[in-house]
């Protein structure tokens, strides 16, 4: 383990069947007005390649906090989170940026598209950060827009899109670099039922096709139905962790 922890973020993912993400004794505390608030309290999880998993629980249970730590946007107070062989605690800013840039896609509740960029440019952005050459970039963006069915919207700005369309752009942006992991924080919270199902069906397809690991943070029943594994959090602890039979019917 010690050996793995020292690996730099840019290196290849571990063996296919190994755990992609391991948390052990993970604790996260926030200083709030004089005392420490414990948002995560001893999380032990193994998440494998290709999973379609959800962190489920009421608001304030620690879902976003855990997702942020897995995405190396935040660090554990104690315990560890090893993502793709890197202990996130030991990553500096550059290395954690590199880990996200190369291996992790984010999807947010509020889409977080760049308003001055077109749909095409929004999707292209992560590839520019990767320094991918123009030809490959164009092919990848075109393909990602096909996945989410927005080819004809490529030249529009986010302001011209509906919520469902915006979130599809966000999915394309997260998927365009074919990352190992996609972290989606309440992706359907601002969407109606139909759009939610569309988005989720798309994700299931990409999950099977590309073997991308999806981790959701959600308390939305529409999302939970699609999950193959449900990890229930309450007050910063895992209270249930079980396999599920997904229900793809609408």
């Amino acid at each position: 383990m010690g050996n793995q922890a020292d690996r730099s973020a840019g290196e290849a993912a571990p063996a296919k069947n190994g755990a992609l993400i391991t948390t052990s004794g993970l604790v996260k505390q926030f200083p709030t007005g004089g005392y420490l608030f414990t948002a995560l309290n001893g999380i032990n999880l193994l998440i494998d390649r290709g999973e379609f998993t959800g962190l489920v629980g009421p608001s304030g249970s620690g879902k976003t906090t855990l997702l942020n730590i897995i995405g190396a946007l935040d660090y554990p107070s104690s315990g560890s989170a090893v993502v793709l062989g890197s202990d996130t605690k030991h990553l500096n800013h550059k290395q954690s940026a590199r880990l996200r840039n190369h291996h992790i896609g984010f999807i947010f509740q509020t889409y977080n598209l760049l308003p001055v960029y077109t749909v095409y440019e929004n999707v292209e952005f992560p590839l520019l950060l990767l320094g991918m050459e123009a030809d490959r970039r164009r092919r990848a963006v075109t393909q990602a827009l096909e996945w989410v069915g927005l080819t004809d919207r490529a030249q529009q700005r986010p302001a011209q899109l509906s919520g469902g369309e915006s979130q599809r752009v966000a999915v394309a942006r997260a998927m365009v670099k074919k990352p190992e992991i996609v972290l989606a924080d309440e992706p359907t919270a601002n969407l109606d039922a139909e759009n939610s199902h569309n988005i989720l069906r798309m994700m299931v397809e990409l999950n099977t096709e590309l073997e991308t690991t999806f981790i959701f943070a959600t308390h939305d029943e529409k999302v939970i139905r699609y999950l193959r594994r449900r990890i229930t959090l309450r007050d910063g602890r895992v209270v249930e962790d079980r396999e599920m039979e997904p229900d793809y019917t609408t």
Binding site: N101, N112, F125
Partner: protein
């Protein structure tokens, strides 16, 4: 990528961007304009003074002090052979000064009588007009400012009173034979030029001079001359440099304020934009953009104001400045004593150094005020930024 993003964000900010850009471009153009004007003024004043007064430097009688008229009576002597040889060879001109009183229209006025050889070719002064016979009087030449002030005209007689070397008062009439057009106040105001030999006679000081002017570009300066002090052109022009310097201080304040205003506006825009777009900053980080890169992005976005300002400034500045170069600026007629020559039409001088220096100054200051607020990003936690919270 960063260029496009910064460009679009700036364009998206619309009016605010253009206000910043316009204020900044005004400062930019004004710096060049004002500095160019002062430089043109400096050039003119120096050239005029070299031409009419300074030549290639001067030798002063040991006690001669141009600022103390009262000492003129004692401050002259016969130049040593090393200097008088120069005068004989036409490489220098001797000038003798003495205070005097004249009575135009019966009112008393203090003047300086300046004796110069009508045949001299050293300074640009129409002394040859003094080579005329004016029976019963001494020929005298004055400048246009002096003429304006005393209302003397060509052909007028004016009585002058002076003291000779023995302290004896004497008086004679001076006939104005020429009014010279000049912008150089130091050869004009309060003075009357007369033939050197006549003044020496009047003062009973044969062969004496207060100072000698060397020919322009004089290379061999006699050394170790007792009782006479060499003053090089730079020394003699120092006064102009000082005065231009003083004038430029007030000008500097004006455009510095304008520049400061532009910089402050950009600083403010940056602070606001970083605060408003912290969620976007969080997104950049989540997408794997390094912090340093995010800071660079925002710095560049602010610095782009500077580039726009330079472009906008060039669009209206180049025609305006070019026009002033071609046509010059007509200057108000100044009659009070400002100590150096002001041309009727001023041609500014915009050197490459000035333009490049100003461009660099604007660009660097804008980049600094853009960078400072952006450093706040380094302290922003990505999770807080994503939640739209300012840490």
């Amino acid at each position: 990528m960063i260029v496009k993003l910064a460009f679009r964000n700036l364009m998206g900010a619309g009016l605010r961007t253009w206000l910043n850009v316009i204020v900044l471009s005004l400062a930019f153009v004004m710096i060049i304009w004002v500095k160019g004007m002062l430089e043109g003024m400096n050039n003119y004043a120096r050239t005029a003074k070299i031409d009419s007064e300074v030549g290639g430097g001067q030798f002063w009688h040991r006690s001669y002090d141009p600022y103390d008229m009262l000492t003129y009576e004692e401050s002259h002597g016969v130049p040593p052979p090393a200097l008088s040889r120069l005068v004989e060879r036409g490489e220098a001109a001797a000038v003798l000064l003495t205070p005097a009183s004249i009575y135009p229209d019966g009112r008393l006025q203090s003047v300086v009588l300046k004796g110069i050889d009508p045949g001299q070719k050293i300074v640009n002064l129409p002394a040859s007009f003094l080579a005329v016979e004016t029976p019963g009087a001494i020929p005298g030449m004055i400048g246009n400012m002096m003429a304006h002030q005393t209302k003397l005209e060509i052909g007028d007689y004016v009585t002058a009173r002076w003291r000779d070397v023995h302290g004896t008062f004497d008086a004679t009439d001076i006939r104005i034979v020429q009014i010279m057009r000049t912008t150089q106040p130091t050869i004009d105001q309060g003075q009357i030029w007369v033939p050197l030999a006549r003044l020496q006679e009047m003062m009973r000081a044969p062969g004496e001079a207060s100072y000698l002017v060397l020919a322009k570009g004089a290379e061999t300066i006699p050394e170790g001359i007792e009782g006479w002090i060499h003053r090089n052109p730079e020394y003699l022009l120092q006064e102009i440099s000082d005065m231009i310097q003083m004038k430029s201080v007030s000008m500097n304040i004006i455009y510095s304020l304008l520049l400061l205003l532009g910089l402050l506006a950009i600083f403010d825009t940056q602070v606001l934009s970083i605060w408003r777009r912290r969620k976007e900053i969080g997104t950049f980080m989540a997408l794997g953009m390094e912090r340093g890169k995010v800071i660079r992005l925002f710095t560049f976005e602010g610095a782009l104001h500077g580039i726009f300002a330079l472009l906008v400034g060039a669009i209206y500045g180049i025609p305006v400045l070019a026009w002033t170069l071609r046509r010059g600026l007509s200057m108000p007629e100044i009659t009070d004593n400002i100590g150096f020559a002001i041309p009727e039409t001023l041609y500014p001088s915009y050197g490459g150094q000035l333009v490049i220096g100003t461009t660099i100054l604007v660009f660097i200051t804008v980049t600094i005020v853009s960078f400072l607020p952006a450093t706040k990003i380094a302290k922003l936690k990505p999770t807080d930024a994503l939640r739209g919270k300012q840490s």
